[in-house]
């Protein structure tokens, strides 16, 4: 997760409280998605950004996960996301995101 | 040792009996000698013959110093 986004997440969490935040990921790749979850929960694993050593424990899901998918208007999801769902390795992504969430998230949906 | 002297930009020829050793250590100009304990004169031969061997081989080493080479070269003697 780039340094600007880390700063944004950090600022928002300070402003609204981490318990009131939900991060939705849209990354196309499992490893990067996992790292993003780690960054907003346990801190930046590369230790390069503002979230280095900051354990926000935010609730974090990938847009392809059923929890998010079900909350989105079906037509919108169909139009915006379903194409990608067919070409991505959805299981891998969900598995990875879930693993980190279960390990580090303090908050849930 | 030859390598370090050559690295310093001095042209060097190594006179050695053990050509494979000289090659392994990276000498570039090599002139073979006749044995390890007596590189340049076999005590079992007459004095004048030893002198001839020594003069010829050292001469070959001088020739080697004046020879341009592209690769590691073992100069033939005689």
């Amino acid at each position: 997760m780039d340094l600007e986004n880390q700063q944004r997440v950090k600022d928002l969490a300070e402003e609204h409280g981490p318990e009131n935040m939900l991060v939705v990921l849209g990354g196309a790749e499992a490893e990067a998605s996992g790292l993003a979850v780690e960054t907003v929960t346990n801190g930046d694993p590369t230790f390069a950004g503002p979230l280095a050593g900051v354990q926000l424990g935010l609730a974090c899901y990938h847009v392809l996960e059923s929890e998010i998918k079900e909350a989105i208007d079906e037509d919108v999801y169909e139009e915006q996301i379903s194409m990608m769902e067919m070409v991505l390795d959805v299981d891998d992504i969900i598995e990875e995101v879930k693993t980190y969430r279960e390990k580090y998230s303090k908050y849930k949906l | 040792m030859a390598k370090e002297i050559e690295r310093a930009g001095i042209t060097i020829v190594q006179m050695a009996n053990l050509v494979p050793v000289a090659k392994t250590t990276g000498a570039n100009r090599i002139v073979p000698t006749i044995s390890i304990p007596y590189p340049l004169g076999d005590p079992k031969t007459p004095e004048d013959e030893q002198w001839k061997v020594r003069y010829t081989r050292v001469g070959a080493a001088l020739d080697a110093l004046e020879t341009d080479i592209e690769d590691q070269t073992v100069f033939k003697v005689g």
């Binding site: 050593g53 | 390598k3 060097i12 990276g26 304990p37």
Partner: protein
């Protein structure tokens, strides 16, 4: 463990900024800053300071940057130095290697780094400091830092030995003997290796053949009659009495001896020269040292005008058992001396 560590990282992992901050001059901060925190998580001692330096600053002012960092560290008490991990970042790898090497030489503490195998810094500095193979990017920070920190813990608390294959750092070309804990004898190992080799199975040679290091070929001398030629020998020919106490094996010393005005080297019986080389039968060399250091033949060539002049001193050491490392050092010292004396060509005789 009450050991103290200092960590070196670049501007990016020190949270100063990305490429735009690459000219950041070296600074030192207390505690574990930025990526140093990843090491702090696994290191059993205390990370007291973090040195941060921009990659560009280091690569374009390496000498100055190194000097400044060494100065910063001068009054700090520390037991170990970590640099990186540097992943695949070339400038960063080079910086970790350069500063690591300098710190090791100046403060004699272990230095540990981590670099991806594609990082040229690894090849350049693996001989000087411990470098572990690492990931391509910061995504592997935790893993790479863990390897560094764990080895740091090990090296600070146990006596070793620390073989590369056991601990996983890049091999450094430093070979020492090692007693096998399983006490498997050479005979058993030889048989195992042979049986595997004959069956076409995998085996590991205990002495992998390294590549030969070559030097650029010095140009040919155009006209030797204008040139001063020197004799150098590894045959251990010294004045009887061996004034420089050159060792007869595993030599670490060399000598130079004046031959001005001598037509030939007188032998041992006439109190002239003898060999102290212990690797071969000395009889022939003692009887006539010119068989090893051909002063007589070169005098003849000098007289004939084939060479300009035979240098007034010849140089000597002993080849037997003398390690290649020592031979290289002595070669450098002799080369220096030869250059000062204006010698352009050398005949090296070895036994």
């Amino acid at each position: 463990m009450d050991k103290k560590a200092i960590v070196y990282i670049n501007q990016f992992f020190g949270q100063v900024g990305g490429e735009e901050a690459a000219d950041h001059p070296p600074e030192i901060k207390e505690g574990a800053v930025g990526a140093a925190q990843a090491l702090a998580a696994e290191f059993a001692g205390d990370i007291t300071h973090t040195v941060i330096c921009g990659d560009n600053f280091m690569s374009s002012n390496q000498e100055e940057a190194t000097a400044r960092i060494l100065e910063m560290l001068e009054d700090i008490d520390f037991d170990i130095f970590f640099a990186g991990p540097a992943f695949q970042a070339g400038r960063y790898g080079n910086a970790c290697g350069a500063i690591g090497k300098a710190v090791k030489e100046e403060f004699a503490v272990p230095v540990i780094s981590s670099m991806n195998e594609e990082n040229p810094g690894g090849e350049m500095f693996k001989k000087d400091i411990y470098i572990f193979p690492g990931g391509r990017s910061g995504a592997k920070m935790r893993e790479d830092a863990k390897k560094m920190a764990e080895f740091g813990n090990e090296i600070l608390t146990s006596e070793g030995p620390f073989p590369a294959d056991e601990y996983g750092f890049y091999k450094r070309g430093i070979r020492h003997q090692y007693f096998r804990p399983d006490e498997k004898t050479a005979a058993e190992r030889a048989l195992d290796m042979l049986l595997k080799k004959m069956k076409g199975e995998e085996y590991t040679s205990e002495l992998p053949i390294p590549e030969v290091d070559r030097v650029d070929i010095a140009p040919a001398i155009e006209d030797l009659s204008q040139v001063k030629v020197a004799l150098v020998s590894s045959g251990g020919i010294v004045p009887v009495g061996n004034p420089d106490r050159i060792q007869s094996a595993s030599a670490t010393r060399w000598g130079k001896y004046n031959i001005a005005g001598m037509d030939r080297l007188e032998n041992r019986a006439s109190e002239g020269f003898k060999t102290i080389h212990a690797g071969f039968d000395p009889a022939a060399a003692d009887e006539d040292p010119n068989r090893v250091v051909p002063v007589d033949a070169l005098r003849k060539f000098e007289e004939e005008g084939r060479i300009g002049k035979l240098h007034d001193e010849f140089y000597v050491t002993v080849g037997t058992g003398t390690t290649v490392g020592e031979a290289a050092r002595m070669g450098q010292e002799i080369a220096e001396d030869l250059k000062d004396a204006g010698v352009q060509a050398v005949i090296l005789t070895s036994t």
